[in-house]
């Protein structure tokens, strides 16, 4: 396991933002980079590699990786649906959206479909309360969700998978 050239360039850019000897400050962004580069989650091997690159101890990386909710400590599906369930989204029907996705994908919250395509998670307020109900999918937000919109999103994910095969 190693970053490729492009990923290393990005790594160096991230580290260069901090003063000499403060490279540990780059840990959060470097963990994002590592998660994106190595299968969408952080294995022990990945975390050890990050520790080595930043010249810090592995425990310093584990401490951080287990604290923040965006780091996945076990494998996830190709598409992760992170549906917000906090007050303002709840008022606007997030429960219905969560139930609909569960039904449609045949999984519970926290599970991944057997084909490894979809993972369903619930999250707390993502700063899109005025555009509720919403979920995060990778880098972007899907807002004003309806059952129809969920159908479309799932269909698009499946079609993309078909194209890639």
């Amino acid at each position: 396991m190693k970053f490729n050239e492009q990923q290393l360039t990005e790594f160096n850019r991230l580290v260069a933002r901090y003063p000499e000897g403060k490279q540990k400050s780059a840990l959060l962004p470097v963990l994002h980079l590592a998660q994106n580069s190595f299968g969408g989650w952080l294995s022990t091997e990945t975390m050890n590699y990050v520790a080595e690159l930043l010249n810090i101890t592995p425990i310093e990386v584990y401490e951080v990786a287990t604290f923040y909710s965006m780091y996945n400590l076990k494998p996830v599906g190709k598409h992760v649906f992170e549906v917000c369930q906090t007050g303002p989204c709840m008022i606007n029907g997030s429960d219905n959206i969560i139930n609909y996705i569960k039904e449609k994908l045949g999984i519970e919250v926290g599970e991944t479909t057997p084909d490894g395509m979809f993972t369903l998670k619930t999250v707390e307020c993502l700063g899109a309360c005025g555009y509720a109900p919403m979920m995060q999918m990778g880098k972007f937000y899907k807002e004003h969700l309806t059952k129809e919109k969920v159908d479309t999103i799932i269909e698009e994910c499946k079609q993309n998978a078909a194209l890639n095969n």
Binding site: P19, L28, H32, T86, P88, C125, G127, C129
Partner: protein
């Protein structure tokens, strides 16, 4: 129409890009500050403006800036708090998405005032696409000579870096944010020392909210005294309010703090009234941490006076009958909403977000979550309501950082104003699972005003 200082140009086509932003008068405040003012006079202007921190606490910004220590040979840092995670709050996101250059401009002037050569924007990890928008704006600003070395030939150097968080509400607390910037868990520090003395890498540091730093631009352009004329009393200038919940027009609005709460909710210029012709039941006016108010206390104070959208008026009556401006996250609940359920989702949120350092917060938020879960799901006892009250009392004021209070206050206010709804849940366990308590006596329905 409220005067607009921040969002005036938000709808100009292409304003995200440097050329358009500059053509519309952008970066003038940098020219003015760097060429005609000294760092200390910039701080003076900010003091005169009366600007109060827009991140939630409302602390006077100029005063905060004047506290920064200046030990010889030690670099100082400005950090922009873009962690925005308080439920109901999405105004900083709007500013960064649509007017990234306004923030960058404000950051350059503020960095000049504080002597920060390396300034960091700490943005919540979920706003991943906004990182790209900000980095592009920074690149453009650099290309055009507003960032980098020897800006405008004045000898002032400044770089801005964007650092992404990774999902933790607590990192919005300024010392947790600093820990996170240092590559650690977001555990708030014990104060003192305050960041102004020992902050990022033990260097003097000022942490300010996105909106606070954007407001520096109009303050420098128009002068602190002129800025202070807008608004009322100690609520000077304009404030961004992110409105959500059961309203016709959720979104981000800039107000000048002289309008009434009633006008804000019902006029077409703002929220456009309650959605689907329903009636107003309650509102959390300043983000999930501040006390919820029933309609009658929201629109009028306990003294029967009109309540206005500003710091003083929203907190009129203290916690007994008032609330707070907070972060400006305005959450409106209509007659069909269940207070117990809504409070439960907030308690679950704080339980999820407690960093776990102090026992009252770590254990207390678990209790709040569990008790409210029971009450909401028809498994509660009347004594649970008292227990809930007792637990929140024991968290408040007994913790390292204010997250403990933030978890306690919404629960306290919900019980204070809606105790009969909690009791109804206990006494009608089956019915409460299929139907809501409704409006009861909380609201004093008023006729919507048309704009």
């Amino acid at each position: 129409m409220s005067k607009k200082l921040l969002l005036e140009k938000a709808h100009v086509e292409g304003i995200k890009h440097y050329d358009v932003y500059r053509r519309e008068g952008g970066y003038k405040s940098v020219e003015k500050a760097l060429k005609t003012l000294s760092p200390d006079t910039v701080v003076e202007e900010v003091k005169k403006s009366g600007l109060r921190g827009r991140g939630g606490a409302g602390f006077p910004t100029g005063m905060k800036w004047s506290f920064i220590a200046k030990p010889e040979g030690v670099p100082r840092h400005l950090v922009c708090n873009a962690d925005e995670s308080e439920p109901g709050t999405f105004k900083d996101r709007y500013l960064m998405e649509f007017l990234p250059h306004l923030l960058i401009e404000g950051l350059i002037v503020s960095s000049f005032a504080l002597g920060s050569n390396d300034t960091y924007i700490y943005i919540r990890g979920e706003y991943a696409w906004i990182v790209d928008i900000l980095e592009q704006a920074i690149e453009e600003a650099k290309t055009n000579g507003w960032l980098g070395k020897n800006i405008l030939g004045t000898g002032f150097n400044c770089n801005i870096h964007v650092q992404r968080g990774a999902g933790a509400y607590i990192c919005g607390e300024e010392t947790a944010l600093i820990e996170s910037l240092e590559g650690k868990r977001g555990n708030p520090r014990i104060k003192p020392p305050f960041p102004a003395i020992k902050g990022l890498w033990e260097r003097p540091t000022v942490v300010n909210n996105v909106e606070t730093l954007a407001a520096i631009v109009p303050i420098i352009n128009m002068g602190g005294e002129e800025y202070a004329k807008i608004g009322v009393g100690r609520s000077t200038g304009t404030k961004l309010i992110s409105a959500c919940g059961n309203i016709n027009k959720p979104g981000v609005y800039e107000i000048d703090m002289t309008i009434s709460v009633e006008e804000f909710i019902y006029s077409d210029e703002y929220c456009g009234g309650i959605a689907n012709g329903k009636r107003l039941k309650a509102c959390i006016p300043g983000g999930s941490s501040v006390p919820i108010l029933p309609a009658n206390l929201l629109l009028k104070t306990a003294k029967g006076e009109t309540r206005y959208m500003n710091y003083e008026s929203l907190s009129d009556g203290g916690f007994a009958t008032g609330s707070m401006m907070g972060s400006g996250g305005f959450i409106v609940l209509d007659e069909d909403q269940c207070i117990v359920k809504h409070t439960y989702t907030l308690a679950r949120f704080y339980h999820h977000e407690s960093c776990g350092q102090c026992s009252p917060c770590r254990e207390g938020t678990i209790w709040l979550d569990k008790l409210l879960y029971k009450l909401e799901h028809g498994q509660g006892k009347l004594s649970d309501i008292d227990l809930l009250w007792d637990v929140q009392r024991k968290i408040e004021g007994n913790t390292i950082c204010p997250l403990g209070d933030a978890a306690a206050w919404p629960v306290a206010a919900a019980i204070r104003h809606f105790r009969d709804e909690f009791e109804w849940h206990v006494n009608n366990p089956k019915e409460s699972q299929i139907k809501n308590f409704g409006l009861a006596h909380y609201a004093n329905p008023i006729q919507p005003i048309t704009a």
